[in-house]
């Protein structure tokens, strides 16, 4: 399908894209771009990429697919480098967890937004980082969201990107940039912030109280995402700040309400909130099973 794929940022996601594209015969050769030579050498050793360079400008020459897999905070710099050898015959795409910020970065670099850049986000990941954690099935039976920019993004580029993701096993949905950022703030960004916050709260108590020793399975699952990469998540919070701050505010109000129910001994009121949440969680599980 593609001759030369260029992966910028060969970590968990970039590495898994390379593996999945190769396994499903979606490209002939793969060049990786990164800043850390050691990581790039590792990626070649593991057979994830064929070759590498630290120079984006040179790497993309002759590529017909360029995938930006670096943290969203780096996108303006990456786009600035890409612009130097921009090709109309190439499909550009990204995997950023926030999409409004990608539009902003494009606007900062390009006077006219490129029609052949397709914004995309695979809803897949792991709390483990790095190319060593990459697998060729990471996107299999997972969703990838494509967020076209209104009158800008070329339809054939969208279809090409869609077909490529489907080739890696993903189920592809389209939505607006705004809807994406709202949905992801609720289902991913806020949970990550809260998990980090809870673990941080316990750290503050740990020294005196020997608390974590007694934390069981519920805690382990609840906080799994607090083992995620702090840099990546700081970037995401900066990139989707308005949505996350708004949701945190709503979340705080809800917690305040729950706290009042507990304090006033309103067992029935509290039970109703928990029951409503339990029903929603169980509906979500059914939704997952029926996909």
């Amino acid at each position: 399908m593609f001759n030369k794929m260029c992966i910028i940022g060969v970590g968990l996601i970039g590495g898994s894209i390379a593996r999945a594209s190769r396994k499903n015969k979606l490209c002939k050769s793969i060049v990786g771009v990164g800043r850390h030579l050691e990581n790039l050498e590792k990626a070649v050793e593991l057979g994830v990429i064929d070759s590498y360079t630290t120079d984006i400008e040179r790497a993309v020459i002759g590529a017909d697919l360029v995938v930006v897999c670096t943290p969203v905070g780096s996108f303006t710099d990456v786009f600035t480098s890409l612009k130097l050898n921009w090709s109309e015959d190439c499909l550009y795409t990204d995997v950023g967890s926030t999409k409004g910020s990608v539009v902003n970065a494009l606007q900062q670099v390009f006077a006219e937004l490129p029609a052949n850049f397709v914004l995309a986000h695979p809803i897949a990941g792991s709390e483990n980082n790095g190319v060593e954690a990459s697998i060729d099935s990471l996107f299999s039976a997972k969703r990838t969201i494509i967020t076209p920019i209104g009158s800008v993004t070329n339809d054939s580029a969208i279809q090409q990107c869609k077909k490529w993701w489907e080739g890696m096993g993903a189920s592809v949905t389209e939505m607006t940039v705004e809807h994406h950022d709202e949905v992801l703030a609720a289902t991913s960004h806020l949970p990550h912030v809260i998990a980090f916050a809870l673990v941080e709260l316990l750290r503050n108590k740990e020294d005196k109280k020997d608390i974590l020793k007694y934390a069981a399975g519920g805690f382990k699952d609840f906080t799994r995402i607090a083992s995620s990469d702090p840099d990546m998540w700081a970037d995401i919070c900066m990139a989707n700040a308005n949505q996350i701050v708004g949701l945190l505010d709503e979340f705080q109000k809800l917690n305040q309400g729950i706290s009042s129910l507990i304090e006033s001994g309103d067992r029935q009121g509290l039970r109703d909130v928990f029951k409503s949440a339990q029903t929603t969680r169980n509906n979500y599980l059914k939704l997952q099973e029926n996909r």
Copy 2:
């Protein structure tokens, strides 16, 4: 070890205790007590208990081990029934998730606190409820915390209870009632409240936004405990209200701080909080592995 064990409340925990005690030959016969005949019949069918009755007063006659496995909100009623045929030759114990509330319930019922009642709490469970979910290995390699009441609880009763739990595969620790309630509020009760709250927040948005469809693995694990029994958790929140309200307050302040870091664009400050939490989570994992 015991001749006749009486399990009051034959659900996930009560059922698993019955199965584990039988499997490890810790008792000869098991009578179950509950309010729902259908459930008790099911428990006999499954071979979890030998017989049942809905009458606590009658059930405990001749028993040398009585285990209270009902929700903590019911303990005063249960103790009132137990008092009628109280035996000095029997070991009484419970599995309540909060221990201060058990002391309160005992104080309400007994003029003099019984020396042969050992407060215990197995740190094990599942978001699935009911005797159908019970398994004989639920406590294997898990902790059980015993919280003796200062000068009240009889040491030989404590040792007997400890040996019984160890016989079911648990690792037993002793701590004070107060320490228990503080530790569990942080590692279990607060996470449950937060998980319920997050799912409830998303429910409020779901109708309009079709949000849960796009929730991925992180969300699924994070919210697993929001599928827990609402009644049990409403009881726990009532029973450990002070600790939970205090922690919720601390948690709210921490979130407020994080929200301010995001709003003011303090990426480094935010990254430091996330990094600190990540380190703590990873230390916790090591602690689990080295147990």
